[in-house]
Symmetry: D2
């Protein structure tokens, strides 16, 4: 931490900071300039953080130097991690495709979508049974009935399932069906939910809040990690900006930036960021090429009747193109496509 | 709703839309232009919304004309509402000041802050017992012990209390102590929480999400209203922008805009938007002058030792200045300051 | 400046920074922590800035401590300045109203608008003869013919004129008619133009770029000041954010922030930020209450036929209300309304 | 265009719109709903645009349906264009690499950078002689001396040159040396400059304003096109958002979106958007994979002493990696790398 003193700080102000830091077990190094003095602090940041230095006399600014997250930081864990979801790896050596319908609607629709996902090369099945919707009048998901459909489709196809949980008190129920729990963009700072999935014993897919900085995203992951769960996959899904031509602005740079700051895998959701079918394949290519550890996309057998986000779901022709690029692109960035699991695993 | 057909839409595409709308009980008016055709739809918007028109052949765009919220809209409820919190009104005739500490820390700190609040002219006491914090290592609030302190201070000072609830499953407990429930900026789209406070029987203070459009904010209010609770006060608290000189950018225009779209009262939080003590009084003046129905500010007897947001809390000298402006400014916008309640009400 | 060394920086990396800084006439203070070392630099910031320290081995980050502007900074000029435009002051003691049509269209329209401006209590007349427009197909202004109309109206009404200049090579011509030169939001970083108005001998109204941070705005002012012209008035006019309910988001906090960082006067344009007539008066009240040194608004005798921004221009009824608030509000913030000049001054 | 009438619009209001539109040579189709009436307009949009319909009685909103640009729109020009710069194509069949130093500093530095550019597979040389800088105290470029250096290096290496022009009145001079004129992000709405490069007879590289929507970017291109110059290449270079981990946020989706709306080629600048060397190669890969028509990067023989943007310049090792990816990736998206021109062309 660095304390920047105000131009009119007195020698007493400076001494008082030095004393305070010393009493808290830290060390203060004073650099006196012509117009300003700065004080470098060395010691336990959490301890120093409780001193409320910003409120002391003569202090103009406090500049934090170290990152505020620990367990998910790459500083103390230089090797990048691989998260395994019922045998399917997501990590630095592979590129894992995840596909499925935005929302589970019927057994047939879900099965058809899962078969499309497999055809595309997907190793995991996504699908929502609980849907957080901006409008209270929109379809909110089938709830537990949807989870049962997902479990049945897993039996039939062999694809492990990733599904969203929206309330801390549903975590146990959802975890009893799902192989991976998704925390959605609107819940990235729902701290009760983060703590609950941290105690769930299941890997977690943590979507970036549409207004969250990368640092806040990693702090949200830290909430999960703090409960003993380091099986976290970060998912960039677009941030909110002034541009209205796309639903959100895919922050493609967030992939290499987050991979450098954290050891956790980072994947990309091109369907929800762009919000338009014709953008999904180009953005998937960009995601794989930038070095993402995976891509998660919406597919739907009949998007024109989808209850949720139909306009962005891939259809059959797209799926064939996706299969090709998911096979050809990863080797150019030193990866292989994670293989599709065999059908009918026994739990 | 207006359907904009693509330049290459066929007559069949157009007929198919007209038929679909007719079958759903609506009417379609076709305007054929030289380069494009547009179709105006008349009928039940919710019904038409399920038709998934955006996914149909030849459709380039669907433009919604009416607003998606109903219960909180001013269209069907032209008169602006007054919400009453244990006898204290928040509405178009008054300007209600709400003050208190960011977090409840000790009985003495809370009482001192409440006395400062009263001295400033505050009619309600704010204070957090549950604190959603970006870092899992930061102070998270005293929980129920904090609620008890608030209740004791209410006994002593007569100020009804406004306090935050962060989890749907705490709503009943918090509502047993609090006079008004606050939903914080990070939870504005925590739909389970919105529904729970909607069923709580208590008035709700709904902070705007820092990345939420005004329309999304009103949709969040609609979630609460849909559960039968129309005692909702909207609170503008700054949005996230590229500017880093302030913690968030206070969107002062949101006050008149939201008041025009909705009948609900709208207040302003200048403490959390600016994040700096020296901005709180200027922004409070701006809020009252623009026509806000209230202002909510942080005060603290000893901000230099505050466990949360000390740098933005007002201190004694500021409180006197706040008292003056809260008395002088409202009459210029046709309002009076809501009076401070008498001490020691009996429940 | 503070240099933050990377976790894996070597002692040689550190020594090399210390030597480099010493050779450039500065001093380096090294603070060695457990996980990182930081180096505080003292000396001529411009000199140190040329060292390209961010590119050196072992350097993780360079944190600037002092502000990059000098002439417009309040650090070296604690008293706030008053800029005088042909006898009309804009500064900390007064609140100066500036009104007029967005664009000069005809002699009659301009005169009528000027009379409305006077009726509102305006001490200066705004009006554009050169209009920068997003579309090449939109009305671009009358050019010199418009300047002549403005000069005639000044003769008739006594109001000094503020008008925009959009090209460095027009500065001399525009300055021969205008009393104050306006640099528009899209030109805030048109450095050739900034330098030209800096040499023009006329006061300058510098609008904030719609995407500019406050620091960049002050750097733009520094460009003008560097040419010897310190008669600069800053104008906040809304920034670009994700919110689409208003044309731009008026950053009301920018007024106290800029006034604290710079000695220059700061005014507000509520017409262009909101983009809607019904927002102009509420935002004008907010601007005066927050402590702005002035307000600049669009008025038009017949907004329904205006060639530019008609929907935001005030009409007769609004003007009477504006006159009232411009008289009543400033005394509450320790100011008086700058009086309207007498008619028909002779140059 | 669609006119949305207010809920309280009268039949007379509606008739008056219909009459007005008819008098202007257009047709109005009225759709009367239960709560609102909408009117579809058909006719010459520019003509209807002058009617100021938004200001008429009873009008709640005017929704534009067609795009406001014409010459650069893909609607009237479905095939994507190729722009040729002294024999080097930029267009849909190839992927053109452009590299060079941010600023021209010395003959030797420029030549070394050009040789690095060639080694990377670059077909064009970028380099700035006029540098728009946020601070008036920063290096502003060598001016004409820099142009001469660029011309000499072109003689020696055979690489055509792309260089920025910052003032309309320098266009003729810069065009006498350069093969392609660059308009920088801060000047995207410097309309005088746009018109000047539109008349210059040289191809133009138009960077997106860091706060510009894609529509505004295309409108800026329309300004150039309107002067008869359709040799325009669009360059996405990052937009301003709340995220501070990168200098700007590369809007990778803008590439397919702009290519769908306009026939003009679209390239990407990964150096200026990320602002950090380690992001340049990942973002270059993303740009090629998403389908960009080219990539423009900073290279520097000695970035640690660069006068401008050293921290983002690629160095020798990076250049070898860039050469590999520029050869391997384009074929996966149906393109070939534009070959490096032979040395020493004679003009």
């Amino acid at each position: 931490m660095v304390i920047v003193m105000a131009a009119d700080a007195t020698p007493d102000d400076i001494d008082s900071i030095v004393d305070l830091v010393g009493a808290a077990g830290g060390e203060a190094f004073v650099s006196r300039g012509v117009s300003r003095t700065i004080i470098g602090l060395v010691g336990d940041v959490d301890q120093l953080g409780t001193l409320n230095l910003r409120g002391k006399g003569g202090v103009a600014d406090v500049v934090r130097i170290s990152v505020p997250y620990k367990l998910v930081s790459r500083e103390n864990h230089p090797d990048r991690s691989t998260v395994t979801v019922r045998g399917v790896p997501i990590g630095p050596d592979t590129m894992t495709l995840i596909a499925g319908p935005c929302a589970v609607e019927t057994p047939d629709q879900t099965l058809q979508a899962a078969l499309m996902a497999k055809a595309a090369g997907s190793a995991l099945l996504r699908g929502g049974a609980y849907k957080p919707r901006t409008s209270p009048y929109a379809f909110q998901g089938l709830g537990e009935a949807g989870l049962k459909i997902l479990a049945d489709v897993r039996e039939e196809t062999g694809l492990p399932i990733v599904t969203e949980v929206v309330d801390a008190h549903d975590v146990e129920l959802v975890a009893s069906y799902a192989d991976m729990l998704q925390v959605g963009t609107r819940n990235m700072q729902n701290f009760a939910l983060l703590q609950a999935v941290g105690s769930s014993g299941r890997p977690v897919l943590l979507k970036r809040g549409m207004n969250a900085t990368i640092e806040e995203w990693l702090m949200a992951a830290e909430y999960i990690a703090q409960r003993g769960n380091l099986d976290i996959v970060l998912c960039e899904r677009g941030i909110r900006t002034f541009e209205t031509a796309t639903r959100n602005t895919l922050d493609i740079s967030a992939v290499p930036v987050a991979q450098r700051l954290s050891h956790l895998p980072v994947i990309v959701d091109p369907s929800h960021s762009g919000g338009k079918r014709e953008l999904v394949l180009p953005l998937s290519r960009a995601a794989i090429a930038v070095g993402a550890d995976g891509v998660i996309v919406d597919v739907h057998p009949h998007p024109e009747t989808a209850l949720c986000d139909g306009p962005q779901a891939l259809v059959d022709g797209d799926v064939r193109e996706l299969a090709t690029l998911a096979r050809q692109l990863p080797p150019l960035v030193g990866r292989t496509l994670t293989p599709v699991p065999e059908a009918a695993p026994v739990r």
